[in-house]
Each structure stands twice: as structure tokens, then as C-alpha cells.
Symmetry: C2
Subunit: 434 residues, 2 copies
């Protein structure tokens, strides 16, 4: 076993240094499984002169051309993140006949078909397991293990930051602002937390998951997104009393009205397999017409967990190089499919209203739902507020989003309703739509 | 896309008819993904003359030679089950250059290295995803997605029958005998339930999982096995009060004393990811030194779920045939590794004792544990029994099995101890050993 395959890393941040550590720590086992030794020949960094203890002994460069023009480098591992210049580097590396491993959800969510076309044209391998769910195997299972299925639904807890925040809000009954500060202190949330809390990161993962599940091209812009910043500890508490736990979910469904791809908070039954996914853990739940329900659970971020996926992708490519079977994978993705307009998407809804604390209000509200064609599963007066109003919590049956919106509008103009404070989707039971 | 790949099924029982249904129901999507149409040319059955509505339109034969000698048949799908003649048929089919998909855990658990050698020698593909966990992707993830990891532990709820029984005993507080009758009535348990309730089925799966996780050959005979027939509803109830839920687990651990491969009931914390795997669902939990903890969850049995794995394996082989890359997979398995003797395996233990209901007994018992070098996490007098005795429940810290056994022996000869009624392993917290 004298063969050595040389690779280059683009980037040496959290994920890149995890890959360096993994290749060193498990060198013997990895060489055995790959069928060849793997050597990091060059690492692209912003400043090659800066001292980095974790990269001791490695050749650093701040010039991508040095990697591109090095014929010995067979695999380029893109772990720099961001769209620019990562995508350009990957396209040029593929044109130069180099295989690609990437962890870059931003690029995959927007340019998958272009990258696939380049891989196909140049006969190279292109793998991106780490782009969704960190270390959790989900891309390969979708591409290779569930192929017998028409997948009807994929949904996941795919953003560790928001899941940590919602978990803490649930456990400690603290406010969104307080938990955001705590997450920032712990380094789980950025100073500008928008990509996480506004659901943008989850939306990119939703686009990738939906593309693979439904054999099509779903882009970031095709995802309707709602973040978690409006979620209050009171709603979480009411939800718990109703048996629900709140999660920010990436959801993709193949419906008769088209593909329905969304990211938003959802009340899940506490007994749902995704309901017990706490803290920074991620999980992706897939429903197929043959397998039924299946779920993949693990660490969705972090240096080593993400490096597990990146390094396993590298090993797969090295196996292909050793056996002379690179370029065997199909890099075709189906045509764009019709999207389901948001108004037609269906779900059960939780609503919290602030109303006048007087007799007959509950009846008037129930009647207003009825006129909007929204049937109710339950409606309860939850509590009296300090300022002499009352809070009402209603849970609807599954209705189109348009009907729920119409009900909210009709409620808002009712004289007895002071405010419709919350509207949160509910996934009530496994067979339900969201 | 005019190519058609012809396959043969050996067996048309539960799994085989699921494969027939899947290939028909999802024909368009499967053809697209495989890159060729898949046609079932022949089905081996015991009696080709018996009418089977599910096989309408298919060519049946009761003569294996007809399949073996048909040069058009590229893939043989073994779904007949049992060791004989399934293994012999697979070996002969590989010698004839045919690729194999099998769902046969009995054969895989005992003959994996022989089958691998035959696949390697004949340059054919050999896939067996359905042999563990029904439809759940676990074999391919272990072989291809977690390759960057040194896997230290794999444990799973891999037998749906016993999990259904333990779940019902927990939910309804009914006896083992009552739940077994119910499982038999529902068709979940066989008239002779031994393979399930004595842990033999789970032990085969433990052997397969351990072989893959630890790059070695683990056979069925290398697994220490304990079934569930001694589990009582009282122990389950006491466990619940301590925060535990009971599962029959297949466990494989790579320890400094060797590989520790076992099947036995375990009290898991209710918050453990495997703790919420209920009814006929299965899940496999893997711990790697890079990824940390990861879990795969889904339906572990049944016609269609198992057919999902079998058919996805068929699709993978067809892709290889279309791209001319069959034989690319590595069919090498490492050397046999040392096994950890049962006495050296470590775990926390739950014990239930029936004792004289008199002062000082608790202290005497605690002292006896101490003399056997078993430190206790808790010991409580659980209740008085009707015949004037008392029940004591003790939970130990993590100790070698030898020490726990010595403690039991010492307790059994204590005059105040009437009986050591139960000894059940406890996995207390994620970082613990079992």
C-alpha cells in the first residue's frame, strides 16, 4: 500500500483544522479504509505568514493558483465558506480535473446544478455531505440509500444555534433576548445573528435537502422563511401545556399543488422523533412511500463533527481514485418543479389572542374562525392578563395558509380582540401535514 | 435510456413481494435514478404452480439452475431467508458472475468473510443493507459515511418484536406472558418466539454491526446473549421511577480488553436518544472519535421498509453496471480481533432483592456490596411485599461484570436475603459504559 493521494485544503478555520486533526489522529484507520495514504500538500489561507499551531508542518499558501497548477493535487477540499471566491475556486479546480469536497451550504444552495454540470463535464467527483447536518450522514443516504422511494416529505432541525436557543427558552422559561445574549456569550450565535435566527441558514439547508429529496433544483430563493425572533417564552409554555415542543424546522413537501419548501418555527408533539432533538443536535426526518419514516440524528456543527463528513467524502474519492472509478457518480439533477404558493400550503395553527375579558368572547371568536372556514381543534381561555384583558389560545385543524391568514384578519378587526399576538404552525401527529 | 437490467428474486415472501411492489409502484423514479429499467426476469419459489396474485405476470421457477444459467440475469436478489440453501445459492451466483443483494442476516452474521472473498474473487457487487435495521440506512453509512472515524461503540434497538413487547409492558404494566400472547396474536412474534425473545436475532445483527464498525470479523457465536423473558413488569415500573426505560440492546464496544459484543436488556435514561424508540421501530446509535454520537432511526422490519433497502441496493448495482464500475467496492474485512471476556465487561447494574423486613437490612446489604468492591449509586427499600418481606432496589456505579456477579453470590448467601430477583444493566448517561 505505497500509494499516496495528495490533497489541498482551501481554508483552515473551524472545519479545515478539524480535517487536519482527523487525518492525523486516525491516519492508520483512514489509510486502511481509503486504500492509500492521504497527504495534505497545501493549505490555502488568507495570510501564509501568520503562525498557526494547528497547521504546524503543513505548507501554507495564500495563492490559489499554486494549488490549481499543482498537478500532484488530486482533491481540493473547500472549507473556506462563503460564496465568493469559493464557488469560483471550485469551478476552476474542476476544470483542472481536480475532485472536490465541500462543506459550503451557501454555494450548494444556490449553484448546485452549475456545480453538477461542471463535475459531469470534467468527469470529476464532487461531494458535499457536510453542507447539511454537519457530521450526520444525510446527503449520501438521500442520494444512495433511499433511492427506491418517492420521497414525500423531508423535515429537519438543521440549525444548532436556534435549536440551542429554543431548547434553553423551553427549559429555563427565559426570553428570546436573554437567550440570544447567552448564545452569543457561548459563541453559538454570531454578533449579527441574522443568518441563524432569521432562518436563512436553515433555508439554505432546506433548499439542498429538497433538491435531493425531490430530484429537482430548489434554490435558496424558493424557500419561504420565518425566523424565531417573534417566539416568546409564553407561547413555549402554552405549547408545553398542550403537549408540544417548539422547533425551527426546515420542511420540504411534495404536494399536489407543487413543492412546498419552508423554514419556520413549528409546534411538534413532544413524542415526535424530532421533538427530543435538543441543544446543538440536529436531525433530519424523511418520509418515503416505501420506507415510511426514517430519521438521522447527530451533531450538526462543530469542528470535528463537520470534519467527519468532509474527511469521509475525501476517503470516498480516494477509493475511487485507487480503483480507477472516479466520475462514476451521476451528476444530473431534474428539471425545476412548480412551487406550491404559500397560500395553498396547509397546516394546523396555534394562535394566541389578547381579548376583552367579558362573557361571550370565546363564542364570538369561535364564530369568526368558522366564517373564515377554519375549524378549531381547541380554544381555551388561557389566563387573565394584568391589564384586565384575557388571553385565548386556539389550535386549528389543518387548513390552507390563506384561510388561516383570513381568520387572523377577521379576528384583528373584531372589537373584542385587542391583538392577535402569535400564529405558529402545529404538526399534530405523524400523519399530519405542517 | 433504452437499457434494461434483468434481475432474479430468490424467494417471494414478505420481503420479496415488497420488492416486486416497490419496483412496480416507483418504476419511473427508479429507472431515472438507476439509469436503466429494472426487470424481474425470474422468481425462485418453492412451488411454481401455486397461484400468487402478488406475482401476477412474473415468471416463476422452482429450479435455481434456471436462474444460475440464465446469462441475461445480472443481479440475484436473495430474499428467501435462512442459511440453507441461501448461502450456497449466493456463492454459486457470484461464481457465475452475478451481483448479489441480500437481506439475510443469518448468512451475513456467520459467513461475511467468505461471501466477501467470493465477491472480491469474482469482481461482483455484494450488498446487504436490509440485513440490519430493515429499511434504515446503516450498513452503507458505516461502510462509507463514517469512515473518518475510529468507532468506539455501536448500539441498537434492532429487534422490533421485543421492542414492541417491552414498550407494551411499559405502557400497560402487563406481564411478559401476557404481552407475548398479544404479540403472537398480532403476528409480531412467532409461535416459537425464541429467535426474538432470547435475543438470537439481535445477536446476529450485533455481529454484523460490530464487524463493520470495528473492521473485523465478528460472528454470531462471539456475542454474549441474554433475552427478555426474565423481565417483569415490576422491574419496568421500578426502572421508570428511577427515570429509566428498558430496551433490548445490541451493543458493540471496542475496549482496551478487546471487543465487547453483547445483546441484553438495558435500562436507558428516558432522555437517551434510543429511549424514545418505541414499538416496532428500530434505531442504531454509533459513537465515533470524530463525529461523536450519531443515530439512525426507522422501521426495522416489514415488507415495504425492508424492500426499500433491498431495492436501493439493486439500484446501486444497476448504476454500477450502467457506468461500468462494478467490482469497485472493497470486499476486505480485517483480521479477527480479541474478544473481551464477559467478566471484564463493565456496566452499571440494577438489582432487585427480596429481603427480610427488619431493621439494619439495608446497611447489611450495602456492606456486602462494598466487600465485593461494588460501589452503589443508590439503594432504596422499594416496598413491603404481601408475605412480610421487603423489596430493595439497588443501582451500582460502573463495575466489572465479575464484581457484580460476586456481589450477587455474596448477597444470595446472606441470611436476610431471600432472593436476588433481578440483575439488569443500566446505561446511566451518555458517557457511561454499559
Amino acid at each position: 500500500m505505497s500509494q499516496t493521494i495528495k490533497i489541498a485544503l482551501l481554508g483552515a478555520g473551524t472545519v479545515g483544522s478539524g480535517v487536519v486533526e482527523t487525518l492525523s489522529m486516525n491516519a492508520d484507520i483512514i489509510t486502511g479504509r481509503a486504500g492509500a495514504a492521504i497527504e495534505i500538500k497545501k493549505v490555502l489561507v488568507r495570510d501564509a505568514k501568520k503562525y498557526r499551531p494547528a497547521l504546524e508542518g503543513l505548507t501554507l499558501t495564500d495563492n490559489f493558483e499554486e494549488i490549481l497548477n499543482d498537478p500532484e493535487i488530486a482533491v481540493v477540499v473547500e472549507v473556506m465558506g462563503g460564496r465568493t471566491p469559493a464557488k469560483d475556486y471550485m469551478m476552476r479546480a474542476m476544470a483542472a480535473g481536480k475532485h472536490i469536497v465541500t462543506a459550503n451550504k451557501d454555494v450548494i444552495a444556490e449553484h448546485l446544478s452549475e456545480l453538477y454540470a461542471a463535475a459531469d463535464e470534467n468527469g470529476v467527483d464532487f461531494l458535499y455531505e457536510a453542507s447539511v447536518g454537519g457530521g450526520i450522514p444525510i446527503i449520501k443516504p438521500l442520494k444512495e440509500c433511499l433511492t427506491a422511494n418517492r420521497i414525500t416529505e423531508v423535515m429537519g432541525v438543521v440549525n444548532g444555534t436556534t435549536n440551542y436557543m429554543l431548547t434553553k427558552m423551553t427549559e429555563k422559561h427565559i426570553s428570546y433576548d436573554a437567550v440570544l445574549r447567552r448564545a452569543q456569550e457561548k459563541g453559538y450565535a454570531e454578533a449579527n445573528p441574522s443568518a441563524d435566527v432569521d432562518g436563512l441558514d436553515a433555508a439554505r439547508k432546506a433548499a439542498i435537502l429538497a433538491s435531493l429529496a425531490f430530484d429537482t433544483v430548489v434554490g435558496f430563493k424558493d424557500v419561504s422563511v420565518e425566523g424565531i425572533s417573534h417566539i416568546t417564552e409564553d407561547d413555549i409554555e402554552y405549547g408545553l401545556n398542550l403537549g408540544y415542543v417548539i422547533k425551527l424546522l426546515a420542511v420540504g413537501r411534495d404536494t399536489e399543488d407543487g413543492l412546498d419548501i419552508r423554514v419556520h418555527p413549528v409546534f411538534l408533539p413532544q413524542t415526535h422523533p424530532l421533538g427530543s432533538v435538543s441543544g446543538v443536535f440536529n436531525a433530519i426526518f424523511v418520509r418515503g412511500n416505501v420506507i415510511g419514516d426514517v430519521m438521522f440524528y447527530g451533531r450538526g456543527a462543530g469542528s470535528l463533527p463537520t470534519a467527519s463528513a468532509v474527511t469521509s467524502d475525501i476517503i470516498e474519492i480516494v477509493r475511487d481514485i485507487v480503483s480507477g472509478t472516479t466520475g462514476r457518480m451521476k451528476y444530473k439533477i431534474g428539471e425545476k418543479k412548480k412551487l406550491c404558493p404559500l397560500e395553498k400550503t396547509k397546516s394546523s395553527y396555534y394562535l394566541r389572542l389578547v381579548v376583552a375579558d367579558e362573557p361571550g368572547v370565546l363564542g364570538e371568536i369561535a364564530a369568526t374562525f368558522g366564517r373564515a372556514d377554519v375549524s378549531l381543534k381547541s380554544v381555551i381561555q388561557a389566563r387573565r392578563t394584568e391589564d384586565g384583558h384575557a388571553e385565548i389560545v386556539a389550535v386549528t385543524h389543518v387548513v390552507p395558509h390563506a384561510a388561516a391568514s383570513a381568520a387572523v384578519k377577521a379576528l384583528e378587526v373584531l372589537p373584542v380582540v385587542r391583538e392577535v399576538r402569535s400564529l405558529i404552525r402545529v404538526a399534530d401527529g405523524r400523519e399530519d401535514t405542517l
